[in-house]
């Protein structure tokens, strides 16, 4: 039997020694070569989620609906004064939380990619980027489900979005990249320090209240305005929402800056993940 073409070499710190260009080539080819495994793992989790479950993927809709109900209640009793908006408040909240949800869902999935698969990592050799890719695709599916819910809500409130709404999914991509980027770094660190994921999830949860998710950017006083002004997330979320409601992005230059920031974070984190995960994966 002739020996197969596959070859492998293992050395200490081999990925960091690869050099800039070769490292990127390996990262990308690693993902391309493992596409079938990503599909299989995706398929596994889809099947597993639908078995022995009444609602299956519909669970994605439960949390935003409960969220809206609470915000509505707070607004109704006069505790929450969300500021002006062009659409009914429930729709505004749903839109805000859906967009925020893209960031958080992808972050949480990416952050748990190594620790949730410790058993697999210890028993089989494969590119661990696969786990992040699979988790992100899984999260994207729930994002898609939430977009459907959003479309239904628009129809329910009789609001017709602008034609530019077709580009709405594209505006979610920078949020997805930012979430995945931060998540990848957290996944490496949380293998070493287990409470890292909890710390970051809590911090990001608090961050939501300092970001115009459930209120308009002009709500609140100057302190809040200063706080939200410096966060790229404000512009990424605002941009996506503007595109759907008013058809334009209010401050395109700042938005472009925020998008570049998200992409830089993603690319940097991906590289850091690729270089360092080998060292920590054995502790997962």
């Amino acid at each position: 039997m002739p020996i197969s073409e596959e070859q492998a070499m293992y050395e200490p710190e081999q990925r960091i020694k690869l050099g800039f260009v070769r490292c990127w080539i390996e990262m990308i080819t690693g993902i391309v070569q493992s596409r079938e495994l990503i599909i299989q793992l995706f398929h596994r989790d889809m099947l597993a989620a639908s078995k022995q479950s009444l609602l299956g993927i519909a669970w994605t809709w439960v949390s935003p609906l409960i969220g809206i109900a609470s915000w509505l209640f707070l607004k109704h009793v006069g505790v929450l004064i969300p500021g002006k908006s062009d659409v009914p408040y429930p729709l505004f909240v749903l839109l805000g939380t859906t967009i925020w949800g893209v960031f958080m869902t992808v972050f949480a999935s990416a952050a748990s990619s190594l620790t949730a698969n410790g058993n697999l990592i210890m028993h089989a050799k494969f590119s661990h980027q696969v786990l992040v890719a699979q988790q992100v695709s899984q999260a994207s599916l729930s994002v898609a489900a939430n977009i459907l819910l959003l479309a239904a809500a628009f129809a329910f409130f009789g609001v017709s979005p602008q034609w530019t709404a077709l580009f709405f999914p594209l505006t979610l991509v920078p949020l997805l990249l930012l979430g995945a980027g931060i998540g990848m770094i957290v996944s490496v660190l949380s293998v070493l320090v287990r409470d890292m994921t909890k710390v970051m999830t809590t911090l990001l949860g608090v961050l939501m209240f300092f970001t115009p998710v459930i209120y308009a950017p002009d709500a609140g006083n100057d302190v809040l305005h200063q706080l939200i002004r410096w966060k790229p997330l404000t512009y990424l979320i605002g941009g996506a929402r503007d595109l759907l409601i008013s058809g334009t992005i209010r401050d395109p230059q700042t938005y472009a800056g925020a998008v570049s920031f998200a992409m830089t974070v993603f690319l940097l984190s991906w590289r850091i993940f690729f270089i360092s995960e080998q060292k920590v994966a054995e502790k997962a």
């Binding site: 200490p12 398929h43 697999l120 070493l192 060292k279």
Partner: protein
């Protein structure tokens, strides 16, 4: 690497950290180094670190079969994981040509809720097979696993044997050039084990190189031609499999002597048994590692704490380390009913206290570790007046430079003769 070489391992080492806080600290430090674009210093030990595998070097050609031997914690599984690419080495280099099949945990990645059919595809992809490859050998996998109508049932309903069969079947059909097997053949019934070994040998005939890790020496001997013996991560012997097994057995035997179970008195406590020992006859150093076939002496002191009007019998059991009876040696103070009815009954009068010395002549005990239990029993009642379990431990070792074949682990013994002396 030569043309037919599938694996080259050069000075490979792997370290681990013994304490969790240090492990966390070093991990974070190393990751930070990498984030800043620096390489972490991996080739020296920091406080609380140890080498789990230390400077291992060997090559493996197509069709070769290597057995990894060593006690618990000797680094066999770590080495296997290094070869499989699951762990990253801290020193040295591993080069692999061809596809590696790692039978480290069968059914890795099986999801309990998915059916056998769904899991075959999942597990196959983890082993590096494409969906097309899996489809092509799907029927063979199902045939080999013999899971019948359970193919479309969730694997959580499988028996552990079925689970392992399916995992093995997938792994074996990934057409590996190098197959790493870690203990997994120990699971499953003997029929399936034989089927697996048959399949592994069939792959080997077609050129697959095999590395096999097991504590089952017989299985290693059957599967492998050469062996590598590890002791605390360091390779201590590399060569022909029988030599390697012999070294390993000797090493195990020494460890057994050092780690002997505590003697435990039993019975009524009317007799005290002490200073039990077993050694090679005529050995001035009272060597407890007795060469195969050589006479050995069992000796112990006895002391009747109460006056005994009984006629007594002394019993000595030779047992294997796992407690199986190999032989019982007895002698009596008086023959049955006061008459010498049985020709082979050894009669000795015992004092109130003294020493018993039994010389076992030309014993056919196969090389391994044994222990003895001693008891003094009245002739007319089935109670123990006094006894000592785990009284002494000894080893039978293969004679040096002897090319006789030993079936390790067996204890087949014919009745052997012995001489008793009582002071």
């Amino acid at each position: 690497m030569g043309d037919s070489c599938v694996l080259t391992v050069a000075g490979v080492s792997k370290k681990f950290c013994a304490t969790q806080p240090h492990s966390m600290y070093y991990g974070v430090r190393d990751v930070c180094c990498n984030i800043l674009g620096m390489t972490a210093d991996t080739n020296r030990l920091r406080p609380h670190e140890f080498w789990a595998v230390d400077e291992v070097t060997f090559t493996l050609k197509q069709g070769e079969r290597l057995g990894l031997l060593g006690g618990n914690g000797s680094g066999k599984s770590t080495l296997l994981r290094l070869l499989a690419g699951i762990y990253q080495p801290d020193k040295g280099r591993i080069q692999v040509r061809g596809r590696v099949g790692a039978l480290i945990a069968l059914g890795a990645g099986f999801h309990p809720l998915l059916t056998g059919r769904e899991n075959i595809f999942l597990n196959g992809s983890l082993l590096g097979m494409t969906t097309r490859e899996i489809e092509q050998c799907f029927d063979q996998i199902v045939d080999f696993a013999a899971i019948g109508t359970f193919l479309d049932a969730p694997v959580k309903t499988y028996s552990s044997g079925m689970y392992v069969r399916l995992g093995f079947a997938v792994a074996i059909h990934s057409r590996p050039d190098l197959l790493l097997i870690d203990e997994v053949l120990a699971v499953g019934d003997s029929a399936f084990q034989n089927k697996c070994i048959g399949k592994v040998l069939e792959l080997n005939r077609n050129g697959t190189a095999i590395i096999f890790v097991s504590h089952a020496i017989q299985a290693i001997e059957r599967l492998c031609r050469s062996g590598l013996l590890l002791q605390q991560g360091t390779p201590v012997f590399q060569g022909e499999i029988r030599d390697c097994i012999q070294r390993y057995s000797n090493q195990l035997a020494q460890e057994n002597l050092l780690d002997a179970p505590q003697p435990a008195p039993f019975g009524l406590g009317a007799v005290d048994i002490s200073n039990a020992d077993v050694f090679e006859e005529g050995s001035p150093s009272k060597n407890r590692s007795i060469p195969f076939g050589k006479n050995f002496v069992i000796r112990f002191d006895y002391d009747f704490l109460q006056d005994s009007s009984h006629n007594t019998q002394v019993r000595v059991w030779i047992r294997t380390q796992d407690g199986r009876d190999v032989q019982r040696l007895t002698f009596q103070e008086s023959p049955f009913n006061g008459e010498q009815r049985y020709g082979n009954v050894k009669v000795h009068r015992m004092q109130r206290s003294g020493t018993v010395q039994i010389t076992v002549l030309s014993p056919r005990l196969f090389p391994q570790s044994f222990r003895i239990d001693v008891a003094i029993v009245p002739m007319d009642r089935s109670i123990h007046l006094g006894g000592l379990a785990n009284a002494a431990v000894f080893n039978i070792v293969p004679p040096p430079a002897d090319d006789r074949y030993f079936e390790y682990g067996n204890t087949t013994v014919t009745d052997f003769d012995y001489v008793v002396a009582v002071d």
